[in-house]
Symmetry: D2
Subunit: 362 residues, 4 copies
């Protein structure tokens, strides 16, 4: 099946439930002699963790990563690296009352019907907490990408009706540090305030809101991606659309291409300083599914969180309609927290394709 494995040459195999013992991810295909220690994971896990601001759930997930294999005396050995993230600060009792009811917008119903038995505590396997594995795995991907100049950033482009007004050129100059200075990961300071107010307002109403996460991968060398089913476009889509709450993905001009003419859309190639470049990047860094040397531009549509405090009608295991109020501590908006996760998946795909290049041939 390999349903819980991802990657071609660099693979991650994930397991775990939100209120189970722990999450585990085995990363295979890791080259030997890469320095790796527990502390390398702290920043990334902290960036993903909830409880960082008023705009995210107040659940604390310290999420220490334990390395249980594949590293000896501080260096990878070529053996599979196993990472474990324990589950702490669980309040399973918050979910007891959800045993008998299907939360609107959640996987409860389909899991129950498909498997006829489910871990109802916090969504079990369907909980977005599984992304701890992806973020941990991407720390190793980052180490591999250090051999290249590839740099991936992800940030909040839109929340509700409020869009970042940064230009493409401004975005290309962004660093993760700047993005993280915003509690909602929107590096446009002016719009950021409006977005924050919007989130606060919806949170106060017991409601939630959606948005767009934008990802840019800089310095991606030309030639990553393999036609026709291992196109970078295809692998990135599989990686990012596997994330909970993501309803759509687009590259470059994305859905705006619909109303463009070919003469507008085609990016003109030019020679600048003896280097081939493009006057525009409507294609989003991918031509025929292969990286073109231009930055990768990706947009993700992220739905408003399903867990809201407002009363909702739902059905229960007996097929009766009930009024439900979702208790527990939930994110009013996923955008502040999805950026590091989306960034991780892009890093993983790029590291995978970087290793996939044929040695000594093309």
């Amino acid at each position: 099946m390999k349903a819980n494995s991802f990657g071609r040459r660099l693979t991650m195999t994930c397991a775990g439930e939100s209120h189970g013992h722990s999450y585990t991810v085995i990363i295979d295909g890791v080259p030997a002699k890469i320095p790796l220690k527990t502390a390398d994971f702290t920043d990334s896990m902290q960036r993903r963790a909830p409880g960082q601001s008023d705009f995210t759930t107040s659940r604390k997930e310290t999420d220490e990563v334990q390395i249980t294999s594949g590293v000896f005396e501080g260096l990878t050995t070529g053996a599979p690296v196993c990472l474990v993230i324990a589950n702490k600060d669980q309040r399973s009792q918050d979910y007891k009352n959800l045993k008998e009811i299907y939360r609107p917008g959640h996987g409860d119903y389909v899991y129950q019907q498909k498997y006829q038995h489910r871990d109802y505590r916090g969504g079990g396997r369907s909980s977005a907490r599984e992304t701890v594995c992806r973020v941990a795995a991407a720390v190793i991907a980052q180490k591999i990408l250090q051999k290249t100049k590839i740099e991936v950033i992800a940030f909040t482009q839109q929340i509700g009706p409020y869009q970042s007004q940064l230009s493409y050129q401004e975005k290309l100059c962004l660093k993760t540090k700047q993005i993280d200075q915003s509690a909602i990961r929107c590096p446009d300071n002016q719009v950021e305030k409006l977005m924050q107010d919007y989130i606060k307002e919806l949170k106060a109403q017991g409601d939630s809101c959606g948005g767009i996460c934008q990802i840019i991968a800089k310095n991606v060398p030309l030639g990553l991606g393999e036609p026709i089913f291992a196109k970078l476009k295809s692998d990135l889509s599989a990686a990012l659309m596997s994330l909970p709450a993501v309803m759509g993905i687009s590259f470059g001009k994305g859905f705006d291409c619909v109303t463009m003419k070919g003469s507008e859309f085609n990016d003109q190639q030019v020679i600048i300083d003896d280097q081939v470049s493009f006057l525009t990047n409507h294609h989003g860094g991918l031509m025929a599914g292969i990286s073109s040397g231009q930055p990768l531009l990706i947009n993700l549509a992220v739905k408003p969180p399903s867990s809201i405090a407002l009363e909702q009608k739902a059905i229960n295991l007996s097929g009766k309609t009930e009024i439900i109020k979702i208790e527990g501590r939930h994110d009013p908006c996923l955008l502040p927290r999805i950026a590091p996760v989306a960034q991780s998946m892009v890093e993983f795909v790029l590291a995978d394709h970087y290793l996939l290049r044929s040695p000594g041939f093309n």
Copy 2:
């Protein structure tokens, strides 16, 4: 690598170039005793073929499918089915002048840089003609889906600024036959005329236009898709984003979810005639990546074709800028022709996941 293979239990492995000898697709995992004959492919190949109207290229691709293995006395044997589609009506001389230049918007440049050697005739491996393999493979997928009630339709939702005005309920009643009655595969008769005029106008200008292809899969049983990386959402995205010219994909409300509140977005479940149903289908038939029993709703953003008759600036193999006019017979808009291909990929993914269900267990 398996870069040219797709699928988990039902797989297709594709090969071929637009001006090479032929295209070949090997479909593995086909159950035995399915009736299959050459004539079964005629309709699907005809639907994909160019030259059907003024709105597509005048190239003729009769595209007969030859079955060279896996079928005995009219029934599949469980052995891999090999299908061959010969290349005919090629005018390779149309492409001679493209040997030394990179067509804007095409894969020429990245292929040349990645492989240092490319079949420049009509795009070679990067030509969209490779979709003959996908459509042929999907004919077998359709045969498998006949064991179910699953029915997939695909049609033109938007071309340039013109959107179909059909309601969700009207679309659910659509049949492929109706869709095909429109030369541009837009079943909204009123808007269709505007779209046709728009295409004609751009074609006359030597330009091209984009649009949105919508796919609906009806009667998909609850429970297809396997968390967390074999989610139906993820596999469908990989399948459809591997298609040439597709710049974005979305499910259900798609990018519209960005401005919705959780209380609006969450679909309320209800019991109708002792059956669980949903009052709305914002989730697009997929919850936690698993089919919910509601129709699958998918939108694809399709870019305007890169091959336009207008003069464009391009660079050549020597790194000089040239003026290029793309000759040959090209589609001014891909929407009329992408619907059958998109439908095929969705059928293939659904047949794959249908076979993937565990026998006798869940």
Copy 3:
């Protein structure tokens, strides 16, 4: 890469080193609602563990299996099952003096050359202790096989020059309990004594000995295995030849077929009680790579353990020859301990192929 993953529909992904933190195995594709608890692993792990008799190493490996995901309220959920086996009773100091030298017959040299960095303690990733993962994973395979009548036994057929004299019919009646009554897992009581004396004698000399492990799978239904590369013969060979110390594998008459004539080798089919059967089983239960309904018969050639107390010449990291005496607690013969491991791999392959059968078709 997936180098540390095995299986098609039921997969295990393994990680761990003999003197690292722990071993981990993630089993994916496990059907939901299978009862599974920690105690289910005790017997199998105990059977694999060393220290059970004078004929194995005195190292103690209690090897408790911890279930860290995929099980809720005592039943599998369809989510990947993660099993962890901690490393205890390690005496890493025994291996300190091996840091600078390549033990004859071990993977030390190739690991050092390939990865340029290795965990030298007890072989690291190349240690046979990795088989704890396989045995743990097979406990789940056994649960799946309980839906069938398939029963796998493995026992010592030969040690040094001493061969079991049990007839084929006697072997077909063997149960694992009987096999385990022998400290060296040879169910032929008469020959067993000779084997034991032989092992003791070699152990006293500081030497070691090899042997043959025989595996029989009973009640395997006809039809498992998929031509041409997923033949049961091929998957079983990959599974068993991946075990450390296994130098050869054969099915049915195996290497004895070399001197047989076709008229002798061909197994005659007969009808007994309206059932198709075979008068003989030279083919070992596999025809054209597919199970025939006859018992599977497999022989494994197992080399004498490389770690011996006798003085040996070896080279060190500086390329000098040294005299080495392997200290630590080692098995003088692997046969007593390889049977449960080989049995596990066959069980896993059979459960995988059982789940792989197409539902509702062939």
Copy 4:
């Protein structure tokens, strides 16, 4: 499923039946710019073909290989290479009388039971003629191996009771040309005569005989193979055991290790001319599943062909016992013909693992 695909980075996907239209193999992962033309296949296909001598079937299989994709102007393009081998000189009528009966030792019975529908002509998918695909694919593997010094030879080591007496050192000096000078591919001239007489005698009796094929891979660089399930030992076993008629495989000392002591079996490492070497090669070139730099030594047990002219008892589709005499033109011994096929599979695995090495890392 991918049951008809083999390989990790370099893959072959095969289709075809002995009396169908043609065999097809798609090779994916082929590096660009490798010279490839139809004539490159002639020698290999000729070596595999029957009808070369009195010792093989008189069926003629000219087996021209047609390249239908992946090559442009004489060089590979990085796109999948599709090769087609037409079926000619079929005498399907020879098989008409086999429609209703299961030939002893053949796959007829299991195919009929498993698929409930089979191509009975010459075994259909289970025919050994499928090896044309493997041999054709290996021609590309050979081209990749030309970047290395790896050289694979395969020859007849034993037929019936007659064993080649060549020493290990003599075998290491063998070239394929010398092997092919023997009609039965036994390079030991003295024993060859006895083997030929033995085959002739059995053929005259309407019977058949088995033997051992030995394969040696020279100049394999240290470090190919990936623990624990992509060991070279494991992949080679899967590759070779997927061949029809192969009942067993062993590496190095193989089953002889059973009666050896550790002190005898362990190969002593020495430094010769500043190079690490081994005094002996009992391990057969693989330590811990990874190539050691020593030649690979592999033995295959090949059963006597099932198709014999002698009268045999068999059962038919109605479950009755009949007397059967296999007509048609059949090999009295497979050894003369299996050597090139076995060589091909080893070449394919080695090319796959050669490409699999991580670029720029280890």
